[in-house]
């Protein structure tokens, strides 16, 4: 905040030197305001061009009968709410919302708990710590389509290695777990794969957050005889909270829009069992070429993300306020 206010001040001082006492207070204020807008302009232009335009386009497309011909001619008749009506009454919508919610919540929970446990583990000193931590980042670095394809093979019912291992441990039911070929298991499978993909991200951010906590606090707690759980509860957790909010918000945004993993591992199947809002939006547009309905579905997704962002902002502001008070 201080930076922003000093810069227009400096500008104003410069103009005083150039223009002399002729510039009145009103003119100075106008120049200040102009300077402020000029500083904002690059960011605003960027946002308008790369976020505003596509979103506006998508909102408009949601009200149009947009076919492949419209892509070429640019002409698409407006059809009011009929795309939304088609999307909401397709019989699939409730399932999509439920699947998206389950996929998102379970993925975030799994990624966070495992990522946090690993971060706490690597926060200790032991040999090869750095090497193992670097190796754990690998899932993040692999192309998503490649790792998803490998998962598809590994989860095969008859010949996949996952079922083979479970059989070897006498944990699998007869015939193996139908990871990808059962309507009741497919969503669980894609969620597990997505958890695997998301662990490195959670680990990296939470680990760097842990490193920021001053070691003196732990030393003082150790002197006072505080146990490991209480140390986590009263030192680690509160000091890690800002990092946790970042992980949760980014995690939500990354997870709710996942399509590549699901497309490669199950294609949303079998029988739409692992369809989510994002996958369906993609398939409506690029598989059945109903771009208007795809856009309508995409807009629903944008609205959900927006609601979550608002909740986050509100939550975050309250957190800052309470921190400021204490």
């Amino acid at each position: 905040m201080t930076q922003v206010s000093t810069i227009p001040g400096a500008r104003a001082a410069g103009s005083m030197r150039a223009g002399g006492p002729a510039g009145g207070p009103r003119r100075r204020r106008r120049q200040e305001r102009l300077a402020q807008w000029l500083f904002l302009a690059p960011a605003l232009l960027y946002l308008l061009a790369f976020f505003g335009y596509p979103i506006a386009r998508n909102v408009v497309m949601g009200f149009q009968d947009y076919s492949t011909a419209s892509l070429y001619t640019g002409q698409a008749p407006f059809t009011g709410w009929s795309n939304y009506q088609a999307v909401f009454t397709s019989g699939l919508f409730t399932k999509l919302v439920l699947n998206t919610a389950l996929f998102t919540v379970a993925s975030m929970l799994g990624q966070f708990v495992i990522g946090m446990a690993l971060a706490l583990f690597f926060n200790r000193r032991f040999p090869l710590n750095g090497v193992i931590r670097a190796l754990l980042l690998l899932p993040w670095l692999l192309p998503m389509v490649a790792s998803a394809t490998v998962w598809r093979w590994m989860l095969g019912q008859d010949t996949g290695i996952v079922n083979r291992i479970l059989e070897g441990l006498h944990l699998a039911p007869a015939g193996g777990v139908p990871w990808l070929s059962s309507v009741s298991v497919a969503l669980v499978s894609v969620t597990l794969v997505n958890i695997w993909v998301g662990i490195p991200f959670n680990l990296a951010i939470l680990y760097s957050g842990l490193k920021e906590i001053p070691p003196e606090l732990y030393e003082a707690a150790a002197l006072d005889g505080v146990g490991p759980w209480s140390r986590f509860r009263y030192i680690t957790w509160p000091l890690l909270r800002p990092v946790v909010t970042v992980v949760v918000v980014l995690g939500f945004i990354y997870t709710v829009k996942v399509i590549d993993i699901i497309l490669v591992v199950t294609g949303g199947g079998p029988a739409d069992a692992s369809q989510t809002l994002a996958v369906q939006s993609y398939q409506l547009s690029f598989k059945t070429f109903l771009f208007g309905q795809g856009a309508a579905m995409g807009n629903v997704l944008i609205l959900v993300s927006l609601l979550f962002a608002l909740v986050y902002l509100r939550f975050n502001r309250r957190a800052i306020l309470t921190e400021g008070e204490s």
């Binding site: 076919s67 139908p178 070929s181 739409d272 059945t288 070429f289």
Partner: protein, 399 residues
């Protein structure tokens, strides 16, 4: 970077100084999805020789199959389609309806002697926009050793298929395999059963369709076919067959190179079993059509010449032999049937094969998606064939 710029600039100016045409030879871009061999090289060499005889240069671009349509749609909206665009035949009408393609008869491409079924697959509203140098379809592939060990001949009817698939199933392998995925290949492999029984894409929930879905879901229910078929693409089915995990499969002639390379595998090809003895088998027509998008008149003319050259009898035969396609020219197809006996059953099939878009047109993608969802519901036991197809019919008519 600077050096690169200087070099290209130098090359340009010297070309302009020595070449007779000031702009140099025209360069056309040809886009397809033949990323894998032998198709990539086979098409590449035909393109090169046809470009040379036309007096142009061709840049051959192959993108991954799932990326071809999204890329084409992007190029469509920015009016930057390549000069020659290959499309899978059920996608042709999607692009043709935009007006971005040149009708091949006005471009001067000779269409005589081509199978009518193939022309129909390349047409939109009565005009031909795409021509396939080679087409294909699917048939029943069987492991000769496994069938002779069981003492049976390839099944010809549904009853035989059910009985034989059960007989061929052992704890280590399944009797039968096909693709039932939800990415287009599932519908394509199911259509021979659907159509041969009198199924109609406009009435997915009619009795003939329900019977054909009962046949396929029955094979899974009885354990003659793996439950995993809902996740298998055709290439996965082929892998299972090669590995000896399936005694019979539905697949196409493009698998010949892979199957021939598999050591110790003796396979045969037979028509797909029909509902009752003597009924006609109706298979979908497969293969990719080449189109000439609207560009500049000089480029369109050159592209049409290259396309015509790709479809000469000699080039069609070369492609057929290299990659297991059936020529779309009847005369060339007859020759291939004589020279390559393995392709002969497919040559017979192609003359009566049905185009997926002939009746339902641009609605095919939505109908195929609904059909695949119904198939997966029935095969996973989530719904009965009748209930699954009733849902599919209402989904397909809504879209």
């Amino acid at each position: 970077m600077a050096a690169g710029v200087a070099l290209t600039a130098g090359a340009c100016s010297s070309g302009a100084a020595t070449g007779s045409a000031p702009a140099g030879p025209l360069t056309l871009t040809a886009t397809d999805y033949y990323t894998s061999e032998p198709m990539h090289s086979a098409v590449g060499s035909i393109l090169t020789s046809c470009a040379a005889s036309t007096g142009v240069k061709v840049t051959h671009v192959s993108v991954a199959n799932p990326q071809l349509m999204p890329k084409a749609l992007q190029q469509l909206s920015s009016h930057t389609l390549p000069d020659l665009l290959m499309l899978d035949n059920p996608s042709l009408q999607q692009i043709a309806q935009t007006g971005a393609l040149v009708p091949l008869d006005t471009a001067g491409v000779d269409l005589s002697g081509v199978y009518p079924s193939i022309l129909s697959a390349g047409s939109y509203q009565g005009k031909v926009y795409g021509l396939a140098p080679g087409v294909n379809s699917i048939a029943l592939f069987y492991n000769k050793d496994m069938l002779s060990a069981a003492g049976i001949k390839p099944p010809t009817t549904w009853a035989e298929l059910t009985a034989d698939a059960a007989k061929l199933t052992t704890p280590k392998r399944y009797g039968f395999a096909m693709s039932a995925d939800n990415d287009g290949e599932g519908a394509w492999q199911y259509l021979p059963f659907f159509w041969s029984n009198g199924g109609d894409l406009q009435h997915l929930d009619a009795a003939p369709s329900v019977q054909s879905l009962q046949l396929v879901s029955g094979l899974v229910k009885s354990g003659s076919m793996s439950k995993s078929v809902v996740t298998w693409a055709q290439s996965d089915v082929n892998d299972q067959f090669i590995a000896g995990k399936a005694a019979m499969m539905i697949n196409g002639p493009w698998q010949f190179p892979t199957l021939d390379a598999a050591k110790g595998l003796h396979y045969g090809v037979a028509p797909i079993p029909v509902p009752t003895a003597g009924a006609a088998v109706k298979v979908p027509l497969g293969g990719e059509v080449w189109t000439v998008p609207v560009t500049s008149s000089a480029k369109e003319k050159a592209a049409a010449k290259v396309l015509a050259c790709m479809n000469t009898g000699a080039n069609q035969v070369a492609l057929a032999k290299a990659a297991g396609y059936v020529p779309s020219l009847q005369s060339a197809a007859a020759q291939v049937a004589k020279d390559t006996p393995a392709l002969a059953p497919f040559v017979t099939e192609v003359s009566t094969a049905l185009s997926r878009t002939a009746v339902v047109g641009t609605k095919y993608p939505a109908i195929a998606t609904a059909l695949e969802t119904a198939m997966q519901s029935a095969l996973t036991g989530a719904a009965s064939p009748q209930a699954a197809l009733t849902t599919a019919q209402s989904a397909a008519t809504k879209g």
